[in-house]
C-alpha cells in the first residue's frame, strides 16, 4: 500500500514546481518510513516518465553538473487529482471500520 501511495506522493511534491531527484529523496526522507531504500526512487521516477505522468529536463546548477528535473505533465495532474479523491474515500472508509472495530 505504501508503495502504491509513494508514486502519488512524488507527483504531489511536483505540483508546485519541478524538482530534481535528490531533492525529492530529501523531501520524502523528512516523512518517517516513507522511503526506506532511497535508491528505489529512481526506478519509480523512470516509470513515471515512461507513463508520461512526469517529464524531464536538464537544468544548469550552481557549481555542480546539470541536474535532471522532473516536471508534472497534464496526465500527471489528472492522475494525482483522481488519487486524491480515491484516497479520501478509502481513508474515511477504513477509519469508519477501525472505529467500529474498536467500539465493539
Amino acid at each position: 500500500m505504501r508503495k502504491g501511495a509513494l508514486e502519488y506522493c512524488v507527483l504531489a511534491l511536483l505540483t508546485e514546481r519541478p524538482r530534481y531527484g535528490f531533492e525529492l529523496v530529501e523531501l520524502l526522507g523528512q516523512v518517517d518510513g516513507m522511503l526506506t531504500t532511497e535508491g528505489t526512487i529512481y526506478p519509480l521516477l523512470s516509470r513515471l516518465r515512461r507513463d508520461r505522468l512526469v517529464e524531464t529536463e536538464w537544468r544548469e546548477s550552481s557549481g555542480g553538473p546539470p541536474r535532471k528535473y522532473y516536471r508534472l505533465t497534464a496526465d500527471g495532474r489528472r492522475g494525482l487529482a483522481a488519487f486524491r479523491d480515491e484516497w479520501a474515500t478509502f481513508r474515511s472508509a477504513v477509519d469508519r471500520i477501525l472505529k467500529q472495530g474498536g467500539a465493539s
Binding site: 535528490f22 529523496v25 532511497e38 535508491g39 529512481y42 526506478p43 521516477l45 523512470s46 516509470r47
Partner: protein, 180 residues
C-alpha cells in the same frame, strides 16, 4: 576519507548495482546507474566534511543493490532473475577440456542475461590465458615447455569459477560487505 578509498566505495557500489541489473535493458540500466551516480554526487556535496562513515551512510541509505535492481525489474515488468539450464549448462560445457565444447559453453554464456558484458568477457577469455602466457614467455619457468598445454585444461576452470561465483552471489543475494 582518501580519494582512492572514496572512489573504491562508490565504484564498488555502482559495479554491484550494474551486475544486478545485467538482465535489465541497457537503456534502462544506463539511466538508473546515471541517476544513482548523480545522487551520490549530490549527497557527497551535501556532506560538510567527508568521512568514511558519511560516505558509507549515503551508500547504506541507497539500499542493497539487489533491492534497487529488483525494484527496477518490477517497474519495468521484467520477471525476477532465476539462473536456469542455459547458465548451468553453459558453465558445465565450458569446463570440458575440448575447444569446440568450450565454444558451445561460451555461446550459451554470452546469450545469457545473467552476467554483465564485462563479466562474460573476463570469464570466457580465460581459455586464451595459456596462449598469452606462452607468448609472454612466462609459462616456461612455471610449468616447463612440455607441460604448458595443461594450462588449457585449468584456465577455463578459473573462468567458470569466476562466473559461477557471480551467479551464486546474484542468486543468494550474498555480496561482499563494505567495511570501513
Amino acid at each position: 576519507v582518501t580519494a582512492p578509498r572514496a572512489t573504491q566505495i562508490v565504484d564498488g557500489y555502482l559495479a554491484r548495482l550494474e551486475s544486478e541489473l545485467a538482465d535489465v535493458p541497457a537503456v534502462r540500466r544506463r539511466e538508473l546507474l546515471d541517476d544513482v551516480r548523480a545522487h551520490i554526487a549530490e549527497a557527497r556535496a551535501a556532506l560538510g566534511e567527508e568521512s568514511d562513515a558519511g560516505l558509507l551512510n549515503i551508500i547504506e541509505r541507497l539500499g542493497d543493490p539487489g533491492v534497487v535492481a529488483a525494484e527496477a525489474r518490477e517497474r519495468s515488468g521484467i520477471p525476477a532473475f532465476r539462473p536456469g539450464l542455459q547458465e548451468i549448462g553453459g558453465l558445465a560445457l565450458f569446463i570440458v577440456p575440448l575447444p569446440w565444447v568450450w565454444l558451445i559453453g561460451a555461446a550459451l554464456i554470452w546469450r545469457s542475461n545473467a552476467w554483465t558484458r564485462r563479466q562474460k568477457l573476463i570469464g570466457t577469455a580465460t581459455p586464451l590465458l595459456p596462449l598469452v602466457l606462452l607468448v609472454a614467455g612466462l609459462s616456461l619457468p612455471v610449468v616447463g615447455l612440455g607441460h604448458w598445454w595443461r594450462l588449457f585444461f585449468w584456465a577455463p576452470l578459473l573462468g567458470a569459477a569466476f562466473l559461477g561465483n557471480r551467479l551464486w552471489q546474484r542468486h543468494t543475494g550474498r555480496r561482499p560487505t563494505l567495511r570501513s
